[in-house]
Assembly symmetry: C2
């Protein structure tokens, strides 16, 4: 599964493989993934390397990790529709730690920023909000 001579880092090969397995439906939303120790044994990698791969998947929002419990594929939230007032502009960025805490956001989830005509920006969790454009 892991080719040490491919030039591609082992942690990236593992991340790519897990991402593909998730995308294929082998791990459905809500499903638990193998533990770090299991992954390390199955793929023949040290724990540091496994954690590096998991960190990458977390940063992509592909998996969510709960301390002491394990790793799961996130369940998509029902999208909430936000209608900005005319003259607003929509942009995106990663949340500040304060925003992450305030919204209870997982790793790898950006915010949608709506800046009103008054120039005041407001941030919304990017995994729960969509903005229609008419």
């Amino acid at each position: 599964m892991i080719d040490a001579r491919s030039g591609v880092p082992a942690w990236r090969q593992l991340a790519d493989d897990l991402r593909a397995r998730i995308g294929s439906g082998e791990f459905a939303p809500g499903a638990a993934l193998p533990s770090e120790a299991q992954l390390g044994q199955q793929y023949g990698l040290g724990r540091t390397t496994v954690r590096r791969a998991v960190a990458a998947l977390r940063a992509e929002g592909v998996v969510v990790v709960q301390h002491g419990y394990g790793m799961r594929v996130p369940v998509p939230a029902e999208p909430q529709i936000v209608r900005p007032e005319p003259g607003s502009v929509v942009s995106t960025r990663m949340p500040t730690p304060a925003e992450r805490a305030a919204f209870g956001m997982a790793d790898g989830v950006p915010v949608l920023v709506i800046t009103g005509p008054d120039g005041l920006p407001e941030a919304y969790p990017g995994d729960q909000v969509v903005v229609p454009v008419d």
Copy 2:
């Protein structure tokens, strides 16, 4: 600077401090930050801990790192205005590795996804694009 008895992980204290120093203007956009070794010595931390903090700042898009060169505060791009056709919806998520490579995006930069009335989604680099809502 780092309080080992505060209960807050050392890497998070370092990340918070660097983020604050960047926000204060001590490190302006385009400015270089100290090397990992320098940070480790200045804050009395091991390299693993320093790299953990840097990884967090990268995931936030607060710093960009270049292999063999160093770490800098990113320079904001001139925003490009994209006007979706009426009936589109705007959302956000982290890019896939393929999208990251295609757009040459740094870590910690989300994509803005515009789904047209036909249901076809299109992704744009989130650090370069804004969408007006009329």
